[in-house]
């Protein structure tokens, strides 16, 4: 079922949905970029359509709801533990097709990988329904087509495409459709827009031989990368975290356990007892990250981790391109094959 409606009526839809759901959507944060008078698009809770950034690609990913950047898991005192409360309301998360594909990666890691499911992820994940934001055109760094994440057929309760100021929504969810019908939405055939062509192309080798480990392809990143970890923080599929056990300063018997996002590029990630560090140079860290995204994860999960959203390229202060690196790896693999 599809609907077409004005911005005002779409606002009414969101108002009605707001009674049941919290809305988590990309928001243009004025002046909150790194530099003076620069903006950033990151996720936040909204109440009306004016707050939602539907034009630009978000700089930071939707994952911040299910995987908060900093999340208190539980509080402890002496022999008692209590899990931190969460807002009981369900959540509608607005995201693009590539991000829908990223959800599958997050679910795999936290719900399907290993015997136990992650309790804290699961309790947030169960609250979420998705709203698909259509893509009229590719953005600068996207390579979703080559990664097969440009199309999303299902998994969303409704979609949004703004065409000539009119909100066009595909609404497969029957309950949602009722709300749209109540808000003077006109029934019509709607297919969410998706891109079929990117400017950026990647050529991921079918199999990457172990020789790539010692390849000089990584050397340049030791010199170029500043290990800031922005690429991981903005990535919709990066799932690493670290723990902080905090003992309150006024009473050390009371405290909390937090988990905070971690990055395989940032110092300290591979530190082990005794002062060991498995990946010291930024080139080694880049190798780990890239191969994980395009090979190692796939060998376990059966599908690649990277969805080609290009956010890592957008955010890198050193203009390091992930897609360019994939292609450098492909060249190195081909060269090695030719040499043999």
């Amino acid at each position: 079922m599809g609907y077409q409606l004005s911005k005002q009526n779409f606002g009414e839809v969101l108002g009605k949905l707001g009674e049941t759901y919290r809305l988590f959507a990309p928001v243009l944060k004025k002046g909150e970029g790194r530099f003076k008078d620069t903006d950033v698009v990151r996720y936040d809770f909204v109440t009306n359509p004016d707050e939602i950034e539907l034009e630009k690609k978000s700089d930071y990913a939707f994952k911040e709801f299910m995987l908060p950047i900093s999340e208190t898991l539980f509080f402890f005192t002496e022999d008692q533990v209590k899990e931190a409360d969460i807002d009981e309301k369900d959540v509608l998360v607005f995201l693009r097709s590539c991000d829908m594909h990223a959800v599958k990666r997050l679910d795999y890691i936290y719900l399907e990988n290993g015997k136990e499911q992650d309790w804290f992820y699961k309790r947030l994940r169960e609250k979420v329904k998705f709203v698909l934001i259509g893509c009229a055109d590719t953005f600068e760094d996207c390579f979703c087509v080559d990664m097969g994440s440009n199309r999303t057929e299902d998994g969303y309760v409704f979609s949004v495409d703004v065409i000539d100021g009119e909100f066009c929504c595909d609404v497969p969810d029957a309950d949602m459709a009722k709300v749209f019908a109540e808000c003077k939405a006109v029934e019509t055939e709607v297919t969410p827009r998706f891109v079929t062509e990117n400017e950026v192309h990647v050529d991921i080798p079918e199999s990457i031989p172990i020789g790539i480990y010692g390849s000089d392809v990584w050397d340049e990143y030791s010199a170029r990368c500043v290990n800031c970890g922005r690429c991981n923080i903005v990535c919709p599929t990066c799932t690493c975290y670290t723990m902080q056990d905090v003992f309150y300063t006024d009473n050390g018997k009371v405290g909390e356990r937090r988990r905070v996002a971690a990055s395989c590029m940032i110092d300290g990630y591979t530190n082990v007892a005794g002062g060991g560090q498995y990946r010291r140079t930024n080139g080694e860290r880049m190798r780990f990250k890239v191969l994980h995204k395009i090979q190692d994860f796939k060998s376990r999960a059966g599908f690649n981790m990277c969805v080609g959203c290009g956010r890592c390229d957008m955010v890198c202060p050193e203009y390091i391109s992930f897609s360019a690196c994939i292609n450098k790896v492909a060249d190195a693999v081909r060269k090695e094959a030719d040499d043999e």
């Binding site: 944060k29 002046g31 909150e32 970029g33 790194r34 530099f35 003076k36 008078d37 950033v40 990151r42 930071y60 908060p68 950047i69 900093s70 800031c228 970890g229 922005r230 923080i233 670290t242 902080q244 905090v246 003992f247 309150y248 300063t249 937090r258 905070v260 996002a261 971690a262 990055s263 940032i266």
Partner: protein
């Protein structure tokens, strides 16, 4: 033909008297160190037609066109009209050139228009101040710089205006990666430390440079919406007592800054040494005579500083007093006579 030239008038008209008899140099005023290409082309044209085909770039971000025949000054002034209009310089007489030269070109680093660390629009502020104080014959030097790096060397000016931002911290977005701590220490003053996985900012130590904001990978640190300024006073070069400007205000707002600058002219009208050579002395020497209290009374007239603004009640300056001693601090030796 014998020349009968009013040299005082020539200087006031922004021509510099040359050591070459019969020649002068035209001084082009560029507030904020900014010039449009049309004006720049005019500088070139004047240098070609009336000068020697060379242009001096001045320390205070202006241009100086040497080798102008004193007989051509009127024609040069006509040619300068386009630059004066394009640069928005206050003028008294059409085609009359610059009406004063005492108050020097207002200097600015590129600031937020270009520099990742710039905390405000330095050029616009410089141009605004130029509009407010020019033309004026009093010898006043003002410079604007975007951040505490002070690339504009404001501390060698009578009024140095240094941009500040008040870092805003959202602990919910902080992963404790400590990059802000590291870079604050390495590139700034070391005002940050980690307490229980989150960051504590020493608000007294923090200079408001924004380095933490630039290096934060998660947008836990952002810039304040408000722009603030550190005001440093009465720095100077020169033969007698060169010295750095000292802190007068921190966290001052825009209106406070512009008012105290404008107020200095009444003080100079009152207390400038009537016998001063070429009616010119550094303000600091006048303050030495009147006492700082009197200076403060004048520059703070009708100023209502913003509540956050901190003001230094008494200032002591350093620098070497060459009028007292020209000795080097350590006992003097000649390199050729040194003992091995």
């Amino acid at each position: 033909m014998s020349r009968d030239i009013n040299v005082k008038k020539l200087k006031k008209n922004a021509f510099r008297q040359s050591k070459v008899r019969g020649e002068a140099a035209s001084r082009v005023r560029c507030p904020g160190g900014e010039i449009d290409v049309e004006s720049l082309q005019r500088v070139v044209d004047i240098a070609k037609q009336y000068g020697k085909g060379m242009v001096n770039i001045t320390n205070r971000q202006g241009f100086e066109i040497p080798g102008i025949d004193l007989d051509d000054m009127e024609e040069v002034n006509k040619a300068l009209q386009l630059i004066i209009e394009n640069r928005g310089i206050n003028q008294e007489k059409y085609n009359g050139g610059y009406p004063a030269s005492g108050t020097r070109n207002v200097v600015a680093c590129p600031g937020k228009s270009l520099c990742p660390f710039g905390c405000y629009d330095t050029k616009a502020f410089a141009q605004e101040v130029d509009k407010a104080i020019f033309p004026n014959d009093h010898h006043v030097k003002i410079a604007f710089t975007g951040c505490s790096n002070d690339c504009a060397h404001t501390r060698l000016n009578d009024f140095g205006i240094i941009g500040q931002t008040e870092p805003q911290y959202d602990p919910a977005r902080c992963i404790g990666c400590e990059q802000c701590v590291k870079y604050c220490k390495k590139r700034s003053v070391g005002a940050l430390k980690v307490v229980n996985g989150k960051i504590e900012r020493d608000t007294n130590k923090c200079v408001g440079c924004g380095v933490c904001v630039n290096y934060c990978p998660t947008r836990a640190w952002t810039r304040s919406k408000e722009e603030y300024f550190r005001v440093v006073l009465l720095g100077r070069t020169g033969k007698k007592n060169p010295r750095m400007a000292e802190d007068f205000m921190k966290w001052a707002d825009h209106d406070t800054v512009i008012k105290i600058i404008c107020n200095v002219y009444a003080y100079l009208d009152e207390y400038l040494d009537k016998e001063a050579v070429e009616s010119k002395e550094h303000i600091g020497y006048i303050v030495d005579r009147t006492g700082f209290e009197e200076f403060l009374k004048y520059i703070m007239k009708d100023v209502d500083p913003n509540p956050k603004c901190e003001i230094q009640g008494r200032i002591y300056w350093g620098g070497k007093r060459y009028d007292q001693t020209n000795e080097l601090r350590q006992s003097m030796f000649r390199f050729s006579e040194r003992e091995d």
